[in-house]
Each structure stands twice: as structure tokens, then as C-alpha cells.
């Protein structure tokens, strides 16, 4: 069979392109009440009073809920966040009250009538401000909060977590180094801006069962955390997730489900729906973290890097939640994909009065790589070496050790040098970095390399169930959420390939229902295909064994002589002797009516192996299963007078292991590149001195539009991974990783100044060049 690698059309494509696909807010299973949030208009303020008397008078209002110490604190590592603000608000957009009403417009009207009085408090608008001696402490109870994950907060500070990475001996590294560069970097938080805004419904049935439907990447985590937060028996929590309209990490945290549950609880368990407005989706929901960084890299005159010393201050916002995890991932891969003997890094997660941070496609990597890969370019320039040659010389390879001291082999790391070589071809690198267009405009290329492992829970697992239909076709059930990546189609391809069946004969269950779908930890970290794919293969082995058991009895042979393929089970050496699968999978019936076997149900599971926690003092440990590497480039056409630029070409070459679905892989890489360029070039929240987001709408917060995009060039290096399904590596995020650094490198060359902030707007270039009129 040749199903692997083929551009099989997504199984949900026809529903999506005809507008018939259903998302959480489209669910119409019965009547429901509606909730509307009242949000904080300030970044940091004391709540003096909440007057809901006018709102309560409106007919159709069922409940008004305000923050209370009775409600549990939430958070995935540190439980520091009240679901509705209590006493204080700590970010613009924070939920302060919740109105439940018969209809959405009633809830909205009532919400507008709730009068909240605030007393402004000093605002922390950056990690630097948060770490000043006289900075207000945003969470005075930090050390007494309950931890349900791993976190190392610092007492009497705004630091929620410290990740220390200590590899080799940094002093030795500096003494061996002959040339070094040090620089600082920074950018503000931004948004995922997925097309589907966050939404959830919750209902508490009279029997105590809690039904939640949510737009989430982590329905099984919703179940677990709701159990922890509210003391509900985990078996009584049922979570459903239909198709998700874009997630990008922004739907991995749990927030809107908690609000929906509190709303339902306040109205006797009736079904309540909450759908975030675009403004709430931008500012109330967790966002893409900001970062400040200090990077120092040293090398010999020959270009061998001997030392890298970094401090990353992640702007985790008002609550630590998943930002802690992101900052840890930034520490794990604190350097680019290089073999550096001496590495010293502190990666801190810092509280500020910004919307709180959460994973963003790339999970901390594009962020630290922006800082690291900018510094790499400066260092290459300083020693007069081609920036790609400099990277190639220092490439991390099998046999080398990562910053967390994992010794790599050919399965656990891809090959960077061929990615760099292919990138050179794609970008016509031999024609030089700069080409003159006319007396004002130049075309300039910038590059960056990237790597990423998936720092996920050490016990993360994925389960798959296979059932059959009476025609011999198969049903595939996996807990992977279809977030737009086409993963479920690829799982069908993997099953079809193994069963040697037409992929049309594989029916996938698109939605996730935690009572009937086996668990997939979370649909994050580019791990869907790797983990669920392994589980699919194991489940396939399970059904093949069962089919053979029945067929061996019927055909009076041993199971070893049988083969399952093309919808049949047959003798390997006499293929004409065999049975149709449809005659086996629901039991085989002999001519006299006797039957054996019964319906076949297959099960498979995969758990990540040999993952460990990181040593708190050195960071040593196995943080993830494998590292994907990539080389990226961006070409801009830069106007020397206006400091404006167009994106001309953007290239990414990834060592993908094996391509499972060609067009799906291209789509993932291009989509990720597009997000990376938008984040690098335009997307950012703008805060005022009160911590208010000044661009909380898509009018002024503008993702990239069609027509603004460059020509995308994507290619793959093929080095199959032995333990991955058909040898493939994760590829959902990697196109993004090097884009910010590559764009900044191109523009720094073009403008002749070092551009170390994002987004890279013409105004930033103008300011960096001296802000002359």
C-alpha cells in the first residue's frame, strides 16, 4: 500500500468547506441559559464594591456571580488564580462577575448594568518592572498556594518559577572563548487569535454528573482539573469536544469551562453556554507570553562556540498557570540546535499585570530562539563567518549532549546540516545576502535555525480503540482533538497502511467524548501523530491477532500462516484461500449456524518512555522524546528611506523523519511560518500605563492577511525515526520557530542596526536608527 506520504484529503474537509462543520458554540442539544462576563477595565486595581442591584431587576436574569473565597483557586502548576477576581483584579480583561440569563442579550444587558468601583493600584507592565526592589508583590501568598504541578517560586518576589540549566563549566567556557557578544531582547504578550473564540457549555444533571462541552485541546485535562478544583468524582465529569476552530496552544489551558460550570451551579445545574466575544478571546483568555532576555555567546576565532549564558524573563502575566511550563521549555532548549559544552541559563516565569500567558505554537521556542539566533548572527558577523556556516559548524548531532544533558542518537535528534544545505539552495544563498533592487530598495535574506522537543508530562499517554462495521470497514477512536491539523486523517492513513486497506474504509470519530473515547493526554506539542499513531499501530496488531485467531480456526491453519490485507484474511502462500473480513469481524458463522468469535474490538496505547523530571539545580533530565530540527530563512524587500519592507520569500526546511501526508505537512509548516511572521512583524498587545490593552479588537490587533504573505518555500529532509509511526517526527509547530529570528536578522542587515525587539515594525526600525525626522 502507498497511503503513507499521500496527500489524502482531510476527513472533515467536506463539512468544513460547505460550512456544515459544528463547533462548540454551534451545539444545539437542547435549551440552555447564557452567561456573560463582566471584565476588569484595569490592569491592577482593588475592587471596592460591586453593585448589581440594577442588573438583578432585569427580567430573565437567573444569577449574578461575583468572586468569592469559597471558589477554589485554579492553576496547572501553582493554584494562584481565582476564577472570578476576589478583592483585586490583576489584569485587563480579568473576569470579575458572571451574569446568567435566559438569553444572551439579557445577560449582556445585565452585565453592562453591574457597577464595579475600583481603586487603582500600581501596575507592573514588564518583567523588568516586576523584579525591581520596590515593585508591588502581585501574589503575597505565593509560597502558600497549593502546587499541583512542579514549580519553584521565589518567596517575596514576583517570580513564579525558576528553571536552572547548568551544563559543563561556564567559567571554562568563557576562558576558552576568544570572541563574545552580549545583547538584550524583548517583546510584549500577544494573542493566538484563532478563528473560533473560546466557548463552553456546562450542565450539572440531577444525578450529579457534570456535562461539559468545550473548545479545548485538553478535554481529558478539563475532566481531571475540574475534579481537583471542585472535588467532583472524576467519573462523573463528562467532557465533549467537537471540532476546534484553531487552537495554537491557546486552548490547552482551562478557564472558560470553569466559568460555565460556576454559572450552571448557580442556576441549579441548568445547561449554561458561554461564548467569548472576540474582545474577551483576546484579553480575558490566556495569551501568548511576552519575554525579556539577556543572551551572551562566546566562541573561538575558528567559530567553535564554547559558552552560552542566558537569562530569560518570561512575562507570564497575572497568573502563572501554563506560563510556568512554557518558561521551563524555554530553559530546556535555551540555546539553538547547537553543540555547546558550557551552558548556563536561568529561565524565570515572572508575574506582571498583563493577561496571563499560556502555550503558543512552538511552546517558548520561537521566543527564546528570537533572542538566541539574533545573538548567533551578531557573533558570526563579529568573527567574519557566514551565518549559516557558523551554525553548521556548531550543529548538534547524534552523540552530542543537550543543555539538559541528554545524550542524543540518530532517532532522538534530526540532522541539521542537510537542512542548512537545502535552505541555501532554496534561498539562492550563494548569490549573497543583499541584492540591490534600485537606489532605494534592497532585497535582504536573514536566516535562523531551530529545534524543539516536546516538554510534556512524563506519564502522558494516548489510547486508541478500533471497532468494525459489518462491511469490514473500521472505526477509529482516538482522544486527539481535531484542532485543524488533520491529525485524525493521518491516523486513518496509518491504520489503512497497516491494514493494507483503502483509507476510505477507515471511519474516524471526529469529536472527543471522554466517556467513550480513550484518553489522549492533550492535543498539544506536535505529539498527536507520534503518540496516537503508535497507539493506532498497537491497536491494529490487536485486531489482526483477533482476526487471525478466528480465521485460523475456520481455515484450519495456524495463525502464523495468515495475512490480513485488502479486506481479507488469507494464507500467505495460497492467497486465494481466505475469508472476507466482513465475515470474520462480527464472528464467523458456519453453514449450519454455529458461530465463533463475535465482534472484534481492538485497543492500543502508547506512553512516552523514560521521561524524567528536571533536576532543580542543574536542569539535568530527559524532558521530551525527540528533537526536530529545522533551518529557516526570510527574504525581505526593504525601503531604505521609509524603513518599510515587504515579505518576499520565506523558507523552512525540516528534518521530518518521514512525510505521512505531503500536503498536510506543507500546510502545517506554511501555516506555522505565517503565524511566526505575523507575531514577528505585527502582532502585539499595546499596553498603557494602567495596564489596559489598547488594541483589544481585530480592528487594531491585526493578524497577517492574505496578500501580505511572502512566497512560502518548504522542503523536508528525510531521516526516518525508528520508534515513530512510519518514521515521522512532529511538525505542527516547527515552521514558526525560526521566523521571528530570521526576519529580525534580515532586517538588521537591511537597516544596519541591531533590531532586538518585536514586532519588527517600520517605526521600530526608525526608532532604532535614531528617530530622526
Amino acid at each position: 500500500m502507498n497511503i503513507i506520504g499521500k496527500s489524502v484529503i482531510r476527513k472533515e474537509a467536506f463539512d468544513k468547506v460547505t460550512g456544515r462543520a459544528k463547533y462548540t458554540a454551534d451545539e444545539l442539544s437542547g435549551p440552555s441559559l447564557h452567561a456573560r462576563i463582566v471584565t476588569s477595565p484595569y490592569g491592577h486595581a482593588r475592587i471596592l464594591s460591586i453593585d448589581d442591584s440594577l442588573a438583578r431587576e432585569i427580567t430573565g436574569v437567573r444569577a449574578i456571580i461575583v468572586g468569592s473565597h469559597e471558589f477554589p483557586l485554579t492553576g496547572e502548576e501553582i493554584r494562584d488564580r481565582p476564577p472570578l477576581a476576589v478583592d483585586k483584579v490583576r489584569y485587563y480583561g480579568e473576569p470579575v462577575a458572571l451574569v446568567v440569563a435566559d438569553r444572551y442579550e439579557i445577560a449582556k444587558k445585565a452585565a453592562e448594568l453591574i457597577e464595579v468601583k475600583y481603586e487603582l493600584l500600581p501596575v507592573i507592565n514588564s518583567p523588568t518592572e516586576a523584579l525591581k526592589e520596590d515593585a508591588p508583590i502581585l501574589h503575597p501568598n505565593l509560597m502558600s498556594y497549593e502546587k499541583i504541578g512542579t514549580a519553584y517560586p521565589v518567596a517575596h518576589s514576583n517570580i513564579s518559577n525558576v528553571t536552572k540549566i547548568r551544563k559543563g563549566n561556564i567559567e571554562n567556557g568563557w576562558s576558552q572563548s576568544e570572541v563574545s557578544v552580549e545583547a538584550t531582547y524583548g517583546f510584549s504578550p500577544s494573542s493566538h487569535s484563532a478563528m473560533e473564540t473560546r466557548a463552553a457549555t456546562a450542565e450539572i444533571k440531577p444525578d450529579g454528573y457534570v456535562h461539559i462541552t468545550t473548545s479545548s485541546q485538553a478535554p481529558f485535562m478539563v475532566k481531571r482539573l475540574m475534579g481537583i478544583y471542585f472535588g467532583i468524582d472524576i467519573g462523573k465529569i463528562i467532557v465533549e469536544t467537537p471540532l476546534v476552530g484553531g487552537a495554537y496552544g491557546g486552548k490547552a489551558p482551562i478557564q472558560w469551562e470553569v466559568l460555565a460550570y460556576l454559572a450552571s451551579r448557580a442556576v441549579g445545574g441548568k445547561r449554561v453556554k458561554i461564548v467569548y466575544t472576540r474582545e474577551e478571546d483576546l484579553t480575558t483568555a490566556p495569551c501568548h507570553v511576552g519575554l525579556e532576555a539577556l543572551v551572551k555567546i562566546g566562541c573561538t576565532m575558528e567559530g567553535v562556540i564554547t559558552a552560552a549564558e542566558m537569562v530569560y524573563w518570561f512575562d507570564g502575566g497575572a497568573y502563572s498557570d501554563k506560563a510556568i511550563d512554557v518558561s521551563r521549555a524555554g530553559g530546556v532548549d535555551c540555546i539553538g540546535p547547537y553543540n555547546i559544552d558550557n551552558v548556563w541559563c536561568d529561565s524565570l516565569c515572572v508575574y506582571t499585570n498583563h493577561p496571563y500567558g499560556t502555550p503558543f505554537r512552538g511552546f517558548g521556542h520561537s521566543e527564546v530562539l528570537f533572542a538566541f539566533e539574533r545573538t548567533m548572527n551578531m557573533l558570526a558577523k563579529k568573527i567574519g563567518m557566514d551565518p549559516l556556516e557558523f551554525r553548521k559548524r556548531n550543529s548538534i548531532l547524534p552523540g552530542h549532549t543537550t543543555p539538559t544533558q541528554v545524550v542524543l542518537n540518530k532517532n532522538t535528534v534530526g540532522y541539521l546540516p542537510p537542512c542548512i544545505d537545502r535552505l541555501k539552495d532554496l534561498l539562492d544563498w550563494d548569490q549573497g545576502e543583499i541584492t540591490e533592487v534600485d537606489d532605494r530598495r534592497i532585497r535582504v535574506k536573514g536566516i535562523a535555525c531551530s529545534w524543539k522537543t516536546s516538554t510534556i508530562d512524563t506519564d502522558a499517554s494516548s489510547g486508541v480503540i478500533i471497532t468494525f462495521n459489518s462491511d469490514g470497514s473500521m472505526n477509529l477512536m482516538s482522544g486527539v482533538v481535531e484542532i485543524g491539523t488533520g491529525t485524525k486523517t493521518i491516523l486513518a492513513q496509518i491504520l489503512a497502511e497497516r491494514m493494507k486497506m483503502d483509507v476510505e474504509q477507515i471511519h474516524v470519530k471526529m469529536d472527543v467524548h471522554t466517556q467513550t473515547t480513550p484518553e489522549h493526554w492533550k492535543t498539544v506539542a506536535s505529539r498527536g501523530v507520534f503518540m496516537a499513531g503508535r497507539a493506532v499501530l498497537e491497536a491494529a496488531e490487536d485486531v489482526i491477532r483477533q482476526i487471525k485467531d478466528v480465521a485460523a480456526c475456520v481455515l484450519r491453519t495456524s495463525t502464523e500462516d495468515l495475512e490480513v490485507a485488502f479486506g481479507r484474511v488469507f494464507l500467505k502462500d495460497e492467497p486465494e484461500v481466505g475469508l472476507m473480513l466482513k465475515d470474520v469481524v462480527y464472528g464467523y458463522k458456519f453453514p449450519n449456524g454455529n458461530s465463533i468469535g463475535g465482534q472484534i474490538v481492538g485497543y492500543g496505547n502508547y506512553i512516552l518512555r523514560r521521561m524524567t523530571y528536571l533536576d532543580p539545580e542543574t536542569g539535568a533530565g530527559q524532558p521530551g522524546p525527540e528533537w526536530t530540527v529545522a533551518a529557516h530563512g526570510v527574504e525581505v524587500e526593504y525601503d531604505k528611506r521609509d524603513f518599510t519592507y515587504k515579505l518576499v520569500r520565506a523558507a523552512t526546511v525540516v528534518d521530518i523523519g518521514v512525510v505521512l501526508n505531503h500536503k498536510a505537512a506543507l500546510g502545517q509548516v506554511m501555516g506555522a511560518m505565517s503565524m511566526g511572521l505575523a507575531f514577528a512583524g505585527r502582532e502585539t498587545f499595546v499596553f498603557d500605563e494602567l495596564g489596559r490593552v489598547m488594541n483589544p479588537q481585530l480592528r487594531t490587533y491585526r493578524p497577517i492577511h492574505y496578500g501580505e504573505n511572502p512566497r512560502y518555500l518548504v522542503d523536508f529532509v528525510i531521516n526516518p525515526v525508528e520508534n515513530a509511526p512510519y518514521g515521522s517526527r512532529g511538525v505542527g509547530e516547527h515552521g514558526l520557530l525560526g521566523m521571528p529570528a530570521a526576519l529580525a536578522n534580515a532586517l538588521s542587515i537591511a537597516a544596519g542596526v541591531e533590531l532586538n525587539e518585536l514586532p519588527l515594525t517600520p517605526e521600530l526600525i526608525w526608532r532604532t536608527k535614531g528617530a530622526e525626522l
Binding site: E105, E279, G681, M694, T700, T761, E763
Partner: protein
């Protein structure tokens, strides 16, 4: 979702529309004329615009006019921006409006709506300011025709219940050399940092600007400097920037200093395109 109920009316004549407004206003319905509806819908959702009734003007023939007579071009207020672009009776207008919002929104946004809207860029007005166009306004006392440079002071100064029906532009202006340049914070979408439309009438360059301050304006204050043919381009622009007497915007699109930088370069392009 628009959080309030409102009545919808769909008159077929100017008189009917104006009369409806009177009656609804009298009844305390706080009516609004409705053309493309993009602002009423998107701001209504946020309670930033409220109306108890809307009077759709799209079925009024005069508001849909797009025609010439011997002397003038008549553009009905309810023509969608994309209609203007496609039929292209007024190339400067086509070019200016083609940069507003995005294609999907421009299918809805109308010329009159853009000029009368609350979003203060109102770039569609710039070509009319440059061409000393007349606006045809209907009120309960009937139609009146007013020079746009009189009635447009930061915004269109309509009396309560008045309806912008048409813009009337002298055909002679349609043949003049022009340039329209929009500069944004980044790339090709978004509100302007600066939009400059310029027209060369005889030897005289006229300039109108949006995005520099919180209203669009015919920049007569700098036209004198720009037309100083005894000076170099650099000198003219420097003099022009010194002659500006508006409060320059400082917002998420860009700082005021940067806007001046962009304006300076844009004026260079205007002079370059239209010649001294």
C-alpha cells in the same frame, strides 16, 4: 450580537426617508440612516452606537446614482466602495477608497457611510475636499447643495435628520493628475498612519490628509508651502511641516513623531509624482 431591538425601514425615496426620520425622531426612536451598516453593526454590538430605528437608504435611486451630466459627476452616498472601484468614474476616489478596510468590508461600506461614520479616518472624503465638490443634502425643508469645504469641518456638519444624498464633482477635476498614498503601521491592512491624497490643478498642488490628526482635512495650511516653486522639495516640505497646526495623533498605530516622519516622506512622493 446587537444587544438592543431596533426597527428597520426601507424607504424608496429621499422624501420618504427624511419624513420617516422626522416621525421616528418625534417618537423618541433615535433613528439613524443606514447605508452599508458596518459601523452600526460592529459598534452596536459594543453599545458604542445605539439606534431605536434604522432607515436604510440603499433603495433610494438618488442615493445609488453614479452618473455624469455635461458638467458634473453625481455619486450617490449609498454606493459601495467596491462599486466605485469597479465602475471607476473618478480615478482618484477609486484609488483612495480601494485602500480602505478589506475587500469584504468594502463590498458593504459605502461612500456616504465612510464620510459620515464615527471612525474618524473617513478617507473617502479626501478626493471630494480636493475637488471642491458639492454635497447634496436632504432635510425636512428639502434639498440643499453645499460646498463640501464649508460643510465638512472635521466631520460632515449635518443638521438633525439631514441625509447625505450625493456628492457632485466638476468633471474638469476628474482629468487632473493625482496621487493617493496610504501608509500603515505595517504592510497592507489596517487604518492609516497617514493617507495623503493630492491633486494638481493647473500648476497648483492640493493636498488632503487623513490619519495625521483625529479628522481628515484639506491641508490648505501646507499647500502654500508645497507650491513655493522658488524652493527645493526639501525646503518646501520643511516649511509645510512647520505650517501644520493640528494636534498629531499618538496611538497604537504610531507615535506622533513617527507620523511626521511618514508624512514628510509621503509629501516627497507627492511632489515627485506631481512635479513642482
Amino acid at each position: 450580537m446587537i444587544p438592543y431591538d431596533f426597527e428597520y425601514y426601507n424607504p424608496s425615496s429621499v422624501e420618504e426617508a427624511v419624513q420617516l426620520f422626522q416621525t421616528l425622531h418625534h417618537d423618541g426612536k433615535e433613528p439613524m440612516y443606514f447605508s452599508g451598516g458596518t459601523e452600526i453593526i460592529t459598534f452596536g454590538r459594543l453599545n458604542m452606537v445605539r439606534a431605536g430605528a434604522v432607515i436604510d437608504i440603499k433603495n433610494i435611486p438618488e442615493c445609488r446614482a453614479l452618473e455624469f451630466n455635461q458638467e458634473s459627476l453625481f455619486i450617490g452616498a449609498a454606493n459601495a466602495l467596491t462599486t466605485i472601484e469597479e465602475r471607476n468614474p473618478f480615478p482618484l476616489l477609486s484609488q483612495t477608497v480601494s485602500e480602505i478596510a478589506d475587500r469584504t468590508a468594502r463590498n458593504k461600506i459605502t461612500v456616504g457611510g465612510n464620510i459620515c461614520g464615527t471612525i474618524f479616518y473617513r478617507e473617502a472624503v479626501l478626493p471630494f475636499l480636493l475637488t471642491d465638490s458639492l454635497v447634496l443634502v436632504a432635510g425636512h425643508r428639502g434639498l440643499r447643495s453645499v460646498p463640501i469645504n464649508e460643510i465638512f469641518q472635521e466631520q460632515l456638519l449635518l443638521e438633525s435628520g439631514e441625509l447625505l444624498v450625493q456628492m457632485v464633482t466638476n468633471r474638469a477635476y476628474l482629468e487632473q493628475p493625482f496621487v493617493s498614498i496610504k501608509r500603515r503601521r505595517q504592510w497592507d491592512t489596517g487604518y492609516p498612519l497617514i493617507t495623503v491624497a493630492a491633486l494638481k490643478v493647473g500648476q497648483e498642488i492640493r493636498v488632503a490628509i487623513s490619519g495625521l490628526t483625529d479628522f481628515p482635512f484639506r491641508a490648505k495650511q501646507i499647500e502654500g508651502a508645497l507650491n513655493r516653486r522658488d524652493l527645493s522639495d526639501e525646503q518646501r516640505i520643511e516649511l509645510a511641516l512647520h505650517s501644520l497646526d493640528v494636534l498629531i495623533l499618538n496611538d497604537t498605530e504610531g507615535s506622533s513623531q513617527y507620523r511626521l516622519f511618514v508624512l514628510k516622506n509621503t509629501l516627497h512622493d507627492v511632489l515627485h509624482e506631481l512635479g513642482g
